[in-house]
């Protein structure tokens, strides 16, 4: 168990000292506190695997330092870092029983046999694997195998962090939530630092207390799932988190608000920040927060209803604002206007972005 | 031009009867010798449009002269001549499979003469005109015998093979070494007349550098590798003990009962001596094939060797380190000879020697051949009196004296620059074998391959220490009885009778 600290860590697969733009992982600093549940989230090719490999020691970063509990491990090999990892595809020692699989890391460290038995029992109990300890590991289901992979990390007392690399890829969709729960339970119970890497926002947000969203080698935002959802710091996060994605609309500064096309959106609190910001401005609002009605009113924007997707429990309403598409999510049962409608964008759920970065209403 | 003049002069000188013969010196011969298949006679024939298929041994031994004369034959007659070369070990099956399956694959075959017992059914008899040719008349009786089964000549003699003793003259005539030997053993160092003497001398000269070249030398190089040749070396070693000059009626079998004699005490003694001899063979000597034996003795590694001519010829090669340092002598014999009639060992004051007219290269024409005329002409041409002297001079050809006029020391001294004494010993040894009345021939019966293979296997087991000599040969004898039974006692006996007739000088 350890606190993981990254100091100005960046990586470039080409020769060191190349231009910063070529970095597969842009330099950044961050701390993962001991015992937390963290996630690295991003589309494929965003650099999260590089990030993961830097922590596990498979990749030595071009610049920056990695500290475990203050100890510089940047130059250490994987085996010396006391890291445990669960891979995308279950990795088990298929010639061994479940017990021997779990005991393997301990045997590698010459732990006493009675101690091994005790620890394996303990972990097996935690993972509900007791009944299959004597079975050959290869006969187990995919999710049990993933638990074994995890268990091999848990039996070790010296583990600094457990890295989970898309661990649910091969799990049957109906079983996924059980395993998610197990992972959370273990994190809560053992207070192991766990880092979960995935491209799936649901996985990340379900598991982690703090999620780092990455794109194109850059960490875009680190925050709790709720923060990411409600207050995306970057248009990418707004787009990437949540489904359907956040509406991102180009806008210009106006008195006491912004202009979308030629329609004014009153945003008194944000107007000041928007006025001083450099770069292209965009307004972001999640479909959930778009308010729709059939009557015009103050600050309401007139739109055309282009299409309604009935998704059973709710409707996604596609609105046309002078050629810009806006989505609104409306629960079934709420009345829907016909053809023409008016929308309001509540300020507390609306964000203004300059060059993609969210403007803080305070500044 | 000068060469031409000399050749012409020679021809004019040596064949005064001939009127301005055509010049065939481009074929490498000294001169054409008139005869049934002289260059001129063959040149006169026209076989164009026909193909002659020949199977022969691998290059160079016998394979190279076959191909050489085939090429010449083709050029002279216009025939297309195709030659295939096969390692010795595969020759039998390569010839036999087409025979047995009725496929006419080859017109002419060169092969080991002992297979006559198996091949005879498939061979064409040599036509009378060849048998009566001048060249054939000169072939020594031994090789006429070898080519003949019963009354019929079915193989065409083209080579003479025999086993004899080769030794290092520079050792046996070295006063210093003679003295050393006498000091050690109390006996004079001389050419061994018995296998016991052979052993004693070989043992003395084993494992130390007696020729001063910095390499160790050894006693004896022999053919021991369990292949198709080893049994011959063994028979050479056995003959003196087991071939009693006065006991007739079979060496391998008792002709009357067809009981195998291979496990009789004479044979066992021979095998025991063979086993003992491994002690003074060079490293790896107990897996030497003929090629190794040739390199070993021919390369100056060992004092003694026996078996075919090749090692001797190798030693006498122009660039050889031991050229003219070797001599030939008859195979050793024995004072003690087993008499199977009385069941006792008889003592001979003069060692009993039984020359083993071992099988060698012979040739034949397939009965199924559609080109018998051409085939016999080829063989006749191959062995004409111009070609044979030429071939005899080229060591790697493996063609050895088989006509009475080859036994002329002058030929070897003049043509090949041999030392007179060496040539003398060689010629005397060879011709002496023809005069013997106590010869041993090969087991020229059907299934000889089975008999010899089983003999070699048994001997080999004893040599390797897997069995004692007696056990091994008892095993061979049992096996032989079974083979006789399988092939048919009468059939084997009929064939064997021909061999015994030769051995017992009944012809």
């Amino acid at each position: 168990m350890a606190r993981i600290e990254l100091k100005d860590v960046g990586h470039c697969y080409g020769p060191a000292g190349g231009r910063l733009e070529d970095y597969a992982l842009q330099p950044f600093s961050h701390v993962w506190e001991d015992g937390g549940a963290y996630a690295l989230l991003g589309p494929s090719g965003c650099g999260k695997t590089t990030f993961l490999n830097i922590i596990s020691g498979l990749v030595h970063p071009t610049r920056g330092r990695v500290l475990f509990d203050g100890r510089d491990v940047t130059a250490l090999a994987t085996a010396q870092r006391n890291i445990a990892q669960v891979f995308q595809f279950p990795v088990i020692y298929k010639t061994k029983t479940v017990h021997d699989n779990l005991a393997f890391p301990l045997r590698c460290r010459n732990v006493e046999e009675t101690e091994i038995r005790r620890r394996v029992q303990e972990v097996a109990a935690l993972l509900n694997l007791e009944s299959s300890l004597k079975k050959p590991a290869r006969q187990l289901t995919a999710d049990a195998k993933q638990l074994i992979s995890l268990g091999r990390g848990l039996v070790r007392e010296d583990v600094a962090a457990i890295l989970l690399d898309e661990p649910l890829t091969v799990i049957d969709p109906q079983q996924k939530w059980l395993l998610r729960r197990k992972l959370k339970e273990i994190n809560t119970a053992l207070k192991q630092t766990m880092v979960y890497v995935t491209h799936d926002q649901n996985e990340a947000m379900t598991f982690a207390d703090h999620v780092a969203v990455m794109d194109q080698g850059k960490v875009m935002q680190i925050g709790t799932p709720q923060e990411l959802f409600e207050c995306p710091q970057h248009t990418f996060v707004g787009w990437f988190i949540g489904s359907p994605a956040m509406n991102i609309l180009p806008c210009t500064v106006a008195e006491g608000g912004v202009m979308i096309k030629d329609k004014k959106v009153p945003l008194p609190a944000l107007a000041k920040a928007a006025a001083t910001a450099a770069g292209a401005l965009e307004l972001g609002i999640r479909p959930e927060f778009v308010q729709i009605s059939d009557t015009p009113g103050a600050g309401a924007l007139g739109v055309d209803i282009r299409e309604i997707e009935n998704l059973g429990n709710y409707n996604i309403v596609m609105l046309d604002l002078d050629g810009l598409e806006i989505k609104a999510k409306i629960s079934v049962g709420n009345p829907l206007p016909d053809r023409k409608a008016f929308i309001r964008l509540p300020e507390k759920s609306t964000h203004i972005y300059a060059s993609g970065q969210r403007l803080n209403p305070g500044t | 031009m000068r060469k031409m003049l000399i050749t012409t002069a020679l021809v004019a000188l040596m064949a005064p009867s001939m009127v301005m013969a055509k010049d065939y010196s481009k074929y490498g011969i000294d001169k054409d010798v008139a005869g049934l298949c002289s260059y001129e006679a063959i040149d006169a024939k026209d076989y164009s449009g026909r193909t002659l298929s020949i199977i022969t041994h691998a290059v160079p031994v016998m394979g190279e002269p076959t191909a050489l004369h085939a090429k010449q034959f083709g050029e002279l007659t216009g025939a297309k001549v195709k030659v295939v070369h096969v390692p010795f070990g595969d020759l039998f099956q390569r010839i036999m499979i087409p025979f047995q399956t009725g496929q006419s694959a080859y017109d002419v075959m060169f092969y080991g003469s002992l297979w006559i017992g198996d091949f005879n059914r498939y061979l064409a008899p040599v036509p009378e005109k060849y048998r009566n040719s001048k060249a054939m008349k000169l072939v020594t009786p031994n090789y006429i015998d070898v080519a003949t089964l019963g009354k019929q000549m079915i193989q065409y003699p083209i080579d003479g093979d025999r086993h004899y003793l080769k030794y290092r003259r520079d050792v046996l005539e070295n006063a210093d070494l003679k003295k050393k030997f006498k000091d050690k053993t109390g006996r004079e160092l001389q050419v061994p007349a018995t296998w016991e003497e052979y052993d004693e001398i070989a043992a003395f000269f084993n494992g130390w550098d007696w020729d001063g070249d910095g390499e160790k030398n050894y006693g004896s190089a022999e053919v021991v590798k369990r292949d198709d040749l080893m049994f011959s070396a063994f028979i050479s070693r056995v003959a003196g003990y087991a071939k009693h000059p006065d006991v007739k009626g079979g060496f391998f079998f008792d002709l009357e009962t067809m009981t195998p004699l291979v496990n009789s005490p004479g044979w066992v003694r021979g095998l025991e001596m063979f086993i003992k001899a491994q002690r003074f063979m060079p490293p790896g000597g107990n897996n030497f094939g003929l090629g190794d034996e040739i390199f070993s003795f021919g390369g100056g590694q060992t004092l003694f060797s026996y078996s075919w001519d090749d090692a001797f010829i190798q030693a006498m090669e122009k660039k050889s380190r031991i050229r003219n340092k070797v001599m030939a002598a008859p195979l050793p014999g024995s004072h003690e000879v087993w008499n199977r009639k009385t069941g006792k060992w008889d003592h001979f004051d003069t060692p009993n020697r039984a020359p083993y007219i071992t099988w060698g290269w012979t040739s034949a024409v397939a009965a199924s051949s559609k080109n018998k005329d051409m085939a016999f002409d080829y063989l006749c041409f191959f062995s004409n009196q111009a070609n044979t002297p030429h071939d005899l001079q080229i060591g790697r050809f493996g063609v050895n004296p088989y006509r009475s006029n080859h036994f002329d020391p002058a030929f070897w001294t003049e043509k090949l620059g041999w030392d007179a004494k060496v040539a003398d010993s060689y010629v005397k040894t060879l011709s002496g074998m023809d005069d013997s009345k106590n010869r041993v021939f090969d087991l020229r019966v059907p299934g000889v391959g089975q008999f010899m293979s089983s003999l070699a296997a048994g001997v080999s087991e004893a040599m390797a220490g897997q069995k004692t000599a007696q056990e091994a040969l008892d095993g061979v004898a049992r096996e032989w009885s079974r083979i006789v039974e399988r092939i048919g006692k009468e059939r084997v006996r009929d064939a064997y009778a021909n061999v015994v007739a030769l051995e017992d000088n009944l012809r």
Partner: protein, 289 residues
């Protein structure tokens, strides 16, 4: 699996050609094994099972059979171990990787019957280089081909030289196709090279290993030319393997009928043995998920 009528277009040409080529020889051999075809009596008479009864009592054949098992199994095992080791050595990046890989492949490209002649000269106890080296090192010369045990060893050396590349190729290609994760997992679990090899590499390589071992066993069992050139079965019968013995009986002594009986027996025993071996190997090595 599809079940189209067109499937016959694919399998049948090959199968029929193979059957056409092989069926006659196979049936003919079985028929010949009940005849007394030999050097003096070619042809298909009816000889009953006498060839088989003779074989039953033929100690040399059964010894040769045992020897075959020994030589084939030991040389294939060595080839496997060496081929695997070499493949492991040149698997990951090393200097001169290409050079080593090409060089290691070459022996299998050579003609056994010719290379064995070269080997025989190498093993030559007084004229060959091997003993020369050994003596240069001050060690006693080895009687390579002239004692029973060394002759077998020599035979195995030649087989290993010739066919380790085959294993090497198959196993290297196999290694190159392995996923990385299991190795990372083992490193993370703290396994050293030995533990990693036995717990990760071996199990992953099991299926390909079985294929390679079976094919090599089939091929190694036919060992004949090597024996013929190197030792001709000697000294004694020390290197006489079943296939060489069949060769001796069949083509040297021309006991075609008997050799056919030996062959049929050999074939049956081999098929049974290989099936069992394949099953056992599969049980030991492949642990089905």
């Amino acid at each position: 699996m599809l079940n189209l009528r067109h499937k016959y277009v694919f399998l049948l040409p090959g199968l029929l050609v193979l059957l056409a080529i092989i069926l006659f020889p196979l049936l003919f051999t079985i028929r010949v094994s009940f005849s007394s075809w030999d050097v003096v009596m070619p042809g298909l008479d009816w000889f009953g099972g006498r060839n088989y009864t003779r074989m039953w009592a033929d100690g040399r054949f059964w010894e040769a059979m045992q020897r075959l098992v020994m030589v084939a199994v030991s040389s294939v095992a060595l080839q496997y171990v060496l081929g695997f080791s070499l493949a492991l050595l040149v698997w990951r990046n090393i200097r001169m990787k290409r050079f080593f890989r090409v060089l290691f492949l070459v022996p299998m490209m050579t003609t056994p019957v010719i290379m064995t002649v070269i080997w025989r000269t190498i093993f030559h106890e007084s004229l060959g280089p091997l003993n020369n080296f050994i003596e240069m090192l001050g060690l006693p010369a080895v009687p390579w081909l002239s004692t029973a045990s060394t002759a077998v060893i020599s035979l195995v050396i030649v087989e290993v030289w010739q066919w380790t590349p085959f294993m090497f190729l198959l196993l290297l290609a196999g290694l190159l196709s392995l996923p990385r994760e299991p190795f990372q997992a083992a490193a993370i679990d703290g396994a050293g090279p030995v533990r990693t090899f036995f717990n990760v590499t071996m199990p992953l390589m099991a299926p390909i290993s079985i294929g390679a071992l079976i094919i090599r066993l089939i091929e190694a069992s036919k060992i004949m030319e090597t024996v013929y050139v190197l030792t001709a079965g000697g000294p004694g019968t020390a290197t006489e393997t079943a296939s060489y013995y069949i060769y001796i009986r069949g083509l040297r002594e021309f006991q075609i009928g008997y050799a056919a009986a030996l062959s049929v027996t050999y074939l049956v025993l081999m098929i049974i043995a290989l099936t069992i071996i394949a099953k056992i190997l599969a049980r030991i090595m492949i642990l089905k998920d």
